[in-house]
């Protein structure tokens, strides 16, 4: 067969030339779409499509739903006031089922099939990591609100911008508070149980190191797979250790399971803090039997309804008007997603463009205001000015109790017995 081509070199060369021209043409078309549309000046009235992967099922389903609400709320508000750069915002959601493989597929589809102008981040460090790599491959800015684990920032990406505070230090105020207690009141033993997750484990390990250095003995430490469904043996281990302080690296399902197990076993630690779960409002208090059961539980967060930050009060009012309920039922995930939208909006307005390359440059150089507070990003994409507070369930409400300059109530210590 090759011989036939060699005997007709002109035909062969012509074919090669056609092939090369076709490849060049296709590449040109591809590069014009991989960076999204530029300022949209060619078609100013077409909506700006933003691809977002949300966890509508799986382990992160409650958080995913709250996050979707935050994005939708932001889109609704911006469209009400004329859109982004005069164009309506259209959110292109896809469910990732809390799966790292599905989230990659989703972002590939947003960029290469749907040709979305922009993409925004999914829920969790676990999903943000692979998703951000996809966005980076195609030169897309990747603003996200729920992926603050340290491993997100060691990927060497320049397109990633984490609006919320880095997770590793989120319990610092809590550990400082515990260590500041008078020796007669201070817990002497601590139990730690954490998911093997890039969000929870770094936070718990940092807290453990600080508390051990302060003289609080570790009597139980367990890391369990994120796929665990039966938390009873782990809870039993915590209970059997009789620790005075319990530090949980949990998400919503395990936080619920631990509270149930501790209640059933009449185990009342003096203090109980969880990385996530209690921040989910009614999604947490409902399954555990009411907000009175949550009394005294601590958790870290970058947001609460009463925070006096840019557009926060308006967002809370709009949320209640749209979804009902009360302010305390609003998940922090909603605020994180809303913050992401705010940063995108401010950056685009400042440069009058949604070109991804220009957005990335702008996001690296400026400071932005969000419902969670200010956002300024370092080279790795960490928000270097983010603030985290420690919250506690008190009398059915979530109140900030630490640090003192952000507190609206004093920490309740020791934690009251389960009802």
């Amino acid at each position: 067969m090759i011989g036939r081509y060699l005997s007709r070199p002109r035909t062969f060369l012509n074919s090669i030339c056609v092939l090369i021209v076709a490849l060049v043409a296709l590449s040109a078309c591809g590069s014009s779409t991989t960076n999204g549309s530029s300022s949209g000046s060619n078609q100013p009235k077409t909506p700006i499509k933003i691809g977002i992967s949300v966890s509508l099922s799986g382990d992160f389903s409650a958080d995913g739903k709250a996050e979707q609400e935050g994005y939708e709320l932001w889109a609704k508000e911006i469209n009400k006031s004329g859109g982004l750069l005069g164009r309506q915002v259209q959110l292109d959601f896809a469910s990732d089922a809390s799966s790292t493989t599905q989230v990659v597929t989703n972002y590939q589809k947003f960029i290469t099939v749907d040709h979305d102008d922009l993409v925004l981040g999914p829920y969790s460090t676990l999903l943000t990591k692979p998703a951000s790599v996809v966005a980076s491959r195609y030169g897309y800015a990747f603003i996200e609100g729920s992926g603050g684990g340290p491993s997100v920032f060691t990927q060497g990406l320049t397109n990633l911008f984490a609006v919320s505070s880095p997770v590793v230090s989120q319990l610092n105020d809590f550990t400082s508070y515990i260590l500041s207690l008078p020796p007669s009141q201070r817990p002497t033993t601590a139990a730690y149980a954490t998911e093997d997750d890039p969000f929870t484990q770094p936070m718990i390990d940092t807290a453990k190191a600080a508390l051990e250095q302060g003289g609080i003995k570790t009597v139980f430490y367990k890391v369990y797979p994120a796929e665990t469904t039966d938390y009873t043996p782990i809870a039993q281990g915590v209970i059997a250790a009789h620790a005075q302080l319990v530090v949980l690296g949990s998400m919503l399902p395990d936080a619920i399971a631990y509270v149930q197990a501790f209640r059933q076993q009449h185990y009342n630690p003096e203090a109980l803090v969880a990385s996530a779960g209690p921040d989910q409002g009614s999604s947490f208090t409902g399954p555990i039997g009411g907000s009175n059961v949550a009394e005294g539980i601590y958790f870290p967060n970058g947001w609460y309804p009463g925070l006096k930050t840019f557009q926060n009060q308006q967002m809370v009012q709009d949320y209640i008007a749209t979804y009902g309920g009360t302010a305390d039922q609003i998940s922090a995930d909603t605020a994180e997603a809303f913050s992401v939208g705010q940063v995108l909006e401010e950056a685009a307005n400042k440069i009058h463009s949604i070109d991804n390359a220009k957005l990335i440059a702008e996001l690296h150089s400026d400071t932005f205001q969000t419902v969670q507070g200010p956002a300024k990003f370092n080279e790795q994409g960490e928000n270097t000015v983010a603030e985290t507070a420690i919250f506690q369930w008190q009398q059915g409400n979530v109140v900030p109790v630490l640090p003192p300059d952000q507190a609206t109530a004093t920490p309740e210590f020791p934690k009251p017995n389960w009802p």
Partner: protein, 291 residues
């Protein structure tokens, strides 16, 4: 040592709950030679039915079974009539596909109605416990275990002491031969499927009272329940009970003694060993032949 004993006790009690969920699945396979891959979502559907009765009508969870089990029985008969009976060839493989599709539909409907929020069935017994030799036994686990014992005992009586049970066992042994001796195998299949789904309702209530759940919880459930019936022997009710208890005890003890990371691994290593020695599972074909 106390922790190990506690893990064994918890494993036995929790195993009863899984026995309820898996007994229906093994029964359906035994009679109909189909793997009801939708069993997990049907358990969750049963849990949601109990949830609705509790929330809307304030009916106690256990009393609510008097409503949910017949409803789910009827639903099971309907599923068999509409989706399974038309499958005349390659039943085992096609039923996997059909039931998987049905599972996705049910999951989607549940998500639409209830959203992805986790819920948990509540009652005075879901958080209360009593002291036994220094540790607390939760009432819901004890009640769930007793429910499993009562229902499985009732199922045993039905299968081994009634005329219907005779027909059912004959169908399990040899479907064609059962037809030849005048047994209405299709009727037996429909009723068996209904019973299997009714047991899922009971399992769902027990599961929902001990775990927060949403529609996506079915994926974890079906993988565990399938492992249980393979371990116990497909088609064997006693095997399902022993395997359920065995699985949970092994996992809980491993979690406590070693690490939660290895809990499932140890169980599956044991499963492989058992299957190498007895490919039919613990009480698989042997028990059927004994009948």
């Amino acid at each position: 040592m106390g922790l190990i004993i506690e893990a064994i006790v918890t494993g036995i009690l929790t195993g009863g709950v899984y026995a309820l969920m898996s007994s229906g699945l093994t029964l359906i396979f035994g009679v109909m030679d189909i793997i009801n891959i939708a069993q997990g979502i049907l358990v969750i559907l049963g849990a949601y039915l109990s949830y609705v009765l509790q929330q809307q009508l304030h009916i106690d969870l256990f009393l609510g079974l008097l409503i949910t089990m017949p409803v789910m029985f009827g639903f099971g008969v309907l599923i068999e009539f509409v989706f399974i009976r038309p499958l005349k060839r390659d039943r085992t493989m096609l039923s996997l596909l059909v039931m998987y599709g049905l599972a996705l539909v049910i999951e989607g409907v549940l998500n639409l109605i209830f959203s992805a929020d986790l819920v948990q069935l509540q009652g005075w017994y879901t958080t209360a416990s009593f002291n036994v030799a220094g540790f607390y036994l939760s009432y819901i686990y004890v009640f769930g275990f007793l429910l499993a014992v009562v229902l499985l005992a009732g199922l045993y009586w039905l299968v081994y002491r009634t005329k219907f049970g005779f027909s059912l066992r004959a169908s399990m042994q040899n479907r064609v031969a059962a037809e030849l001796i005048g047994i209405d195998v299709e009727r037996v299949s429909a009723i068996t499927f209904g019973i299997g789904i009714a047991l899922a309702a009971a399992g769902g209530m027990a599961f929902g009272a001990t775990n927060a759940f949403d529609a996506a919880s079915s994926y974890d459930l079906i993988s565990r329940v399938l492992a249980i019936i393979i371990f116990g022997g497909m088609g064997s009710l006693s095997g399902a009970l022993i395997a359920s208890v065995g699985m949970l005890v092994v996992e809980d003890v491993t979690s406590v003694v070693w690490s939660p990371v290895w809990a499932s691994t140890v169980f599956f290593i044991l499963l492989v060993i058992i299957l190498v020695v007895r490919p039919q599972g613990l009480l698989g074909q042997a028990e059927v032949r004994k009948q």
